[in-house]
């Protein structure tokens, strides 16, 4: 069994390289091979997940040895990855028909799958980090796949954040390993308790958090996400948002369940980060007028929800049953939902060649299939009862409410957090309504012409059959899961609970009780109100003579990346350059320029002073021998004599003295060598 676990991680790497070689001979075979590989991966995972917990380790590989574990939370995440990749591969077949350089894309596609599997199945932080770095680099390739200017710029930001985050995390892991002596997830908690110096441990923990949080898209390191996800081809955006952000979440979870197990300070910190991320992403989502960007901002917001869940399970300590279940289920939900929405956006793009809401407006009119495929996940994410998103959001909400009673003096903070949670949930509905109405209800400026144009872009069906089936299957899942939460969703939560040290709930959650429905009701009403009073009025200003276009009210300068991070990095680089240049030149200049000049000036000063003293006593002008001027012009290298023009003038020069000294040294050396002395 453990050998098969190795296949699960390393198989995709091998397949990736094979697909590249295969693709040089036949494109069809390569496409089939990629599809088959991802399907095999999913099948193998499902087969292995029935076997309970499997571990596998390779001692000494990469130095410390790497280890994998399958079971529980690992399996849940690995399933999300494998199914996400499979789905996206099916959709890629349709999406990529006319795209160039697919060979490169598919190779890195499979390499990234292997790396992601490696992260989710890792049994220690070292393994996690190794595969995390690999994934950062291999996924870069599909962010910049199109090689458009915007994609390259987004890719640059992505890579910069990945490299900086990776290095900061690495320094954190250095410290943690040194303090704990182990980075095994199962041993870190007990090792951390034994550590006396908590400050160092906290430093290590926070540094480690940075890279993982940036990959997850948490504030303030979310900057790469809203540009990089939309830049990638649609199926790839799906896995970037749905799966790859979860690798960051996985890293944060490792820290939260090991060294900071049930640590309330850590929980508070995550709660603050989560709260800001949640509301910020939601607000950006409402304001955005680009379909994929809205979805990416939505991802930021949902990551905030998940982080809040993780923080709650830290804060609640041994009462964390609800928080753990909510976190796991929200991870699953968000992943499944984004795996549908992004590829569906890609389908729209195939016909419209745009993601701008003003361009694609009205595309979905008369397309009930697409309306179901996109509408159900949208409402599910917004937390509409009877859909899966409602369940996880209710659990998260309940866990916050539960902690308010325990919080004591800081209860006000959690009241605020609860409202932030509700408002963010409302805004989720708001931007989803905006998208839905825009695509499926409203009419374009010239609806008839546009429809002709779209048809021209994509003759035949607007969605391939295979894609439609897969996406529909996802969409059907959601009401099924959501309508029978105790039968369908609780087992998933119970399956992954062990990783978080989650408690068993004392009693089954009444998902459809009045209080829970009320919470959802408040949240959803906020969303509807914001939609009516903000989106329909201010974001679509009414003009008498033309159509109501969506506008983006965010001014260009209000961009964290371009107004803060990039200038800051540039300034730092300039300062470093300046300092390095100074250091580089300093000694040479000092040695060959400044020191001789100083000596020259001091000497001249002393000479002048001596001349004055000389004149004072002797009453005649002092003539130095040899004079400084003569010294400078001397072509024979420092004559001592007053009249060097004579036959034997050379005898009186400094050069002659040196020559004699040299001969003497030579003789001495000869004597030493001949052992005469």
């Amino acid at each position: 069994m453990s050998a098969l676990l190795a296949v699960l991680v390393f198989g995709p790497f091998v397949c990736g390289i094979c697909s590249y070689l295969l693709g040089r001979y036949s494109k069809e075979m390569r496409n089939g091979f990629v599809l088959l590989s991802t399907a095999a991966e999913l099948g193998l995972l499902l087969y292995l997940s029935g076997e309970g917990s499997i571990t596998l380790s390779f001692p000494d590989v990469c130095g410390l040895g790497i280890g994998f574990e399958l079971g529980g939370f690992h399996t849940v995440l690995a399933f999300l990855a494998a199914s996400g990749w499979f789905t996206a591969s099916v959709l890629s077949m349709e999406y990529f028909v006319h795209v160039k350089r697919r060979n490169r894309y598919y190779m890195f596609w499979l390499l990234t799958l292997g790396a992601t599997m490696g992260i989710f199945l890792s049994a220690d932080l070292y393994t996690t980090f190794i595969f995390f770095e690999m994934m950062s680099f291999t996924s870069y390739v599909f962010v910049v796949q199109t090689e458009e200017r915007a994609a390259l710029r987004a890719g640059g930001t992505y890579l910069a954040v990945a490299v900086i985050g990776g290095l900061v995390t690495l320094s954190g892991i250095f410290i943690l390993y040194h303090q704990l002596g182990t980075v095994q997830i199962s041993e870190m908690a007990s090792a951390a308790e034994a550590v006396g110096n908590k400050t160092v441990l906290w430093t290590g923990g926070i540094l480690t958090l940075v890279g993982f949080a940036s990959k997850a898209g948490a504030f303030p390191l979310h900057i790469w996400l809203p540009t990089a996800h939309p830049a990638a081809p649609a199926p790839a955006s799906g896995v970037l948002s749905g799966v790859i952000t979860k690798t960051g979440i996985y890293g944060v979870s490792i820290l939260s369940v090991t060294i900071f197990l049930h640590n309330s300070t850590w929980g508070m910190m995550l709660a603050v980060i989560g709260g800001i991320t949640m509301i910020l992403g939601a607000v950006l989502g409402v304001l955005s007028i680009d379909l994929k960007r809205t979805l990416a901002c939505s991802s930021v917001s949902q990551i905030g929800f998940i982080l809040t869940g993780i923080s709650m399970q830290c804060l609640l300590g041994h009462h964390n049953a609800l928080a753990v279940a909510g976190t796991i289920l929200h991870i699953v939900n968000h992943s499944l939902i984004k795996m549908v929405l992004f590829p569906a956006a890609g389908v729209i793009h195939l016909s419209t060649e745009s993601f701008d809401l003003n361009d694609i407006r009205g595309f979905g009119r008369g397309k009930p299939l697409l309306a179901v495929i996109m509408g159900v996940p949208m409402l599910s994410l917004a937390g509409v009862p009877l859909l899966s998103g409602y369940v996880s959001k209710t659990l998260l909400h309940e866990s916050i409410v539960e902690y308010i009673e325990m919080a004591g003096a800081s209860a006000w903070f959690f009241h605020c957090l609860e409202w932030v949670f509700l408002i963010s949930g409302g805004l989720t509905l708001c931007y989803m309504l905006k998208l839905f109405f825009c695509i499926f209800v409203e009419e374009n400026i010239a609806q008839k012409d546009m429809e002709k144009h779209w048809k021209l872009n994509r003759p035949g069906a607007f969605i391939a059959k295979a894609s439609a089936v897969v996406l529909l299957a996802y969409a059907v899942c959601m009401p099924l899961l959501g309508a029978m939460p105790t039968k369908m969703m609780d087992p998933i939560a119970a399956f992954g609970r062990g990783f978080f040290h989650g408690e068993v709930p004392e009693h089954a959650v009444e998902y459809f009780s009045l209080t829970n429905l009320l919470g959802a009701g408040i949240s959803l009403s906020i969303g509807i109100l914001v939609y009516i009073f903000l989106v329909c009025t201010m974001l679509r200003p009414w003009h008498a003579d033309q159509d109501q276009l969506y506008i983006n009210p965010i001014p260009a300068w209000l961009d964290l990346e371009f107004s803060v991070y990039r200038p800051l990095l540039t300034v730092l680089a300039e300062i470093l350059l300046l300092l390095a240049t100074v250091v580089d030149r300093f000694f040479a200049r000092l040695l060959f320029g400044f020191v001789p000049k100083c000596i020259f000036f001091i000497k001249r000063f002393l000479m002048e002073w001596w001349a004055q003293v000389y004149y004072l006593f002797m009453r005649e002008t002092y003539i130095p021998r040899p004079s400084l001027e003569e010294f400078g012009d001397d072509e024979h290298f420092a004559f001592y004599a007053n009249h060097p023009t004579g036959q034997k003038g050379i005898m009186h020069s400094f050069g002659f003295g040196l020559l004699i000294a040299g001969i003497g040294l030579g003789i001495v050396l000869l004597c030493i060598l001949l052992d005469i002395i």
Partner: protein, 489 residues
């Protein structure tokens, strides 16, 4: 003479062979002889490695001043590394030098330099080391000024001036140490006579700093670094690769000998001189990486990168902890591999296209995919991205820093390692990105992947593969490294 004559052969063979090659003008015969000599060299290393630690006394200049060859684990590590990479680069050079004049001179001195380096690795005492050290400097001098341009002459003279100054400082240390040592042979744990040395600690520490700075010149350590970014780039491609990747390591070898085999780590541990050397190394690391950012000429950029990366090794050595030293030795191996891969791929691109600047390499990955792939792997290893070797070296260095009793300086050191890694990413990754992702506005219609040149590709691929394979399985190198480290501590 003694039975251990095997030690002399790997030193003499390249020197004599090189002298012969200097007069071989016919190309095909020279090519055959050079490669045969390199194969013979590798073969000769095997009996030398097995010969054990016996000494070989060459001659006695005066009482107490003698030339001694002896091979220990450190010598095995360095000489093995040097010979294998030298062997690979030879093939590359055979192809690359088609572009250049006066090939027999190049290959002659190329071989003689190898012999001198073997001498440094095998040296049993500081006098021997110094002699071969100077010989290496002088023999690599023609490699630097090979092209004969005004620029290369200036660079070569600067190289000579700095190297000789550095070696002279080392020699001065050798003189000053007379009378404090119980023996002149390199000995595990140091040779300082505790009876004499105890009272003169400040003096001996100052001497150590002088020697470290002196030998540090070869390794490009501040303050005697200024020759390196000038001299390495003007040499022909393969020569700059070995200059950067291997010859700098001979400075490291000398510093290692002085630190661990003359002074002993216990004598230096916790003293001001340890901190001073660490600060110099850290300053160099930061300065090199930063200035590499500014360079547009690829070879200069890589030369600055060498300044920075070789000082990682000095940082590791001066931590004076077992893990730190392990990290330093791994860094020696992996930097040699990665830097050679980088220089060779840049040289291959110069050979193919004549382009020397980073900004001109737009889309070069499409025409020269193999070279740029090797460049990418070398770059990743240099930055320290797992699973390449550079990552493991950095891991060990950081653990060594944390193990040490230096306190805040250790954390500053780790921070600087990380900042330098970021800067390394900053000056290498844009090249890779431009090469492979030139943008959709880039005209690709005229580009065709070029025909294979196996003499260039094979060494490159071997080096790139080594960077990854040794990174995944560091146990292939670690027995040698651990052999050195655990004998010392």
């Amino acid at each position: 003479m003694q039975s251990n004559i095997w030690l002399l052969l790997p030193v003499l063979l390249p020197i004599l062979g090189g002298l012969a090659v200097l007069h071989l003008h016919e190309r095909s015969r020279r090519r055959f002889i050079v490669i045969a000599l390199m194969v013979a060299q590798l073969v000769l290393l095997i009996p030398a490695f097995q010969a054990g630690g016996e000494e070989l006394h060459l001659l006695e200049l005066a009482a107490g001043i003698r030339l001694v060859l002896r091979l220990d684990d450190l010598g095995r590590l360095f000489s093995g590394l040097v010979c294998i990479i030298w062997f690979l680069v030879t093939f590359f050079a055979e192809q690359y030098m088609d572009h250049e004049e006066r090939r027999e001179r190049f290959f002659g001195f190329y071989l003689i330099t190898l012999g001198a380096m073997m001498g440094i690795c095998f040296a049993g005492n500081l006098v021997t080391l110094y002699m071969f050290y100077e010989m290496m400097t002088l023999c690599s001098f023609p490699l630097v000024l090979h092209s004969g341009t005004r620029e290369s002459f200036a660079a070569a003279w600067r190289y000579l001036a700095f190297s000789v100054t550095g070696a002279a400082l080392g020699l001065m240390g050798l003189f000053l140490l007379q009378g404090y040592c119980s023996t002149d042979l390199f000995t595990l744990g140091g040779v300082l006579d505790p009876a004499v040395a105890g009272g003169n600690k400040p003096f001996l520490l100052t001497v150590f700093l002088i020697m470290a700075v002196g030998f540090g010149a070869k390794a490009g350590m501040f303050p005697l670094h200024a020759w390196l970014p000038v001299a390495h780039p003007v040499a022909p491609g393969p020569a700059s690769a070995v200059l950067s990747g291997l010859i700098t390591k001979m400075g490291i070898c000398a510093i290692l000998r002085v630190t661990y085999y003359l002074y002993g780590w216990e004598f230096l541990s916790g003293t001001w001189v340890q901190k001073a050397a660490l600060v110099l190394a850290l300053l160099t690391i930061l300065m090199g990486s930063t200035l590499a950012l500014r360079e547009d000429v690829m070879k200069k950029r890589l030369a600055w990168s060498t300044v920075s990366q070789v000082s990682y090794v000095i940082f590791g050595i001066m931590l004076l902890t077992p893990t730190g030293l392990e990290g330093a030795l791994f860094q020696v191996v992996f930097h040699a591999i990665a830097k050679n891969a980088l220089f060779l791929s840049v040289a291959a691109i110069i050979y193919r296209t004549g382009l020397t600047r980073a900004s001109e390499l737009q889309g070069i990955g499409i025409t020269n995919p193999v070279c740029m792939w090797c460049f990418t792997i070398g770059a990743l290893s240099l930055i320290g991205i797992p699973p390449t070797g550079g990552f493991f070296a950095k891991w060990k260095l950081a653990q060594g820093a944390l193990d040490s009793t230096l306190g805040p300086l250790a954390y500053v050191g780790i921070a600087i390692l990380m900042i330098s890694a970021l800067l390394t990413a900053g000056y290498l990754l844009p090249v890779v990105i431009n090469a492979f992702f030139p943008g959709d506005w880039f005209d690709r219609s005229a580009l065709q992947p070029q025909k294979p040149l196996w003499l260039i590709w094979v060494p490159l691929l071997v080096l790139a593969a080594a960077a990854v394979v040794l990174g995944i399985f560091p146990t292939l190198v670690s027995p040698l490294v651990e052999g050195v480290v655990y004998a010392l501590f």
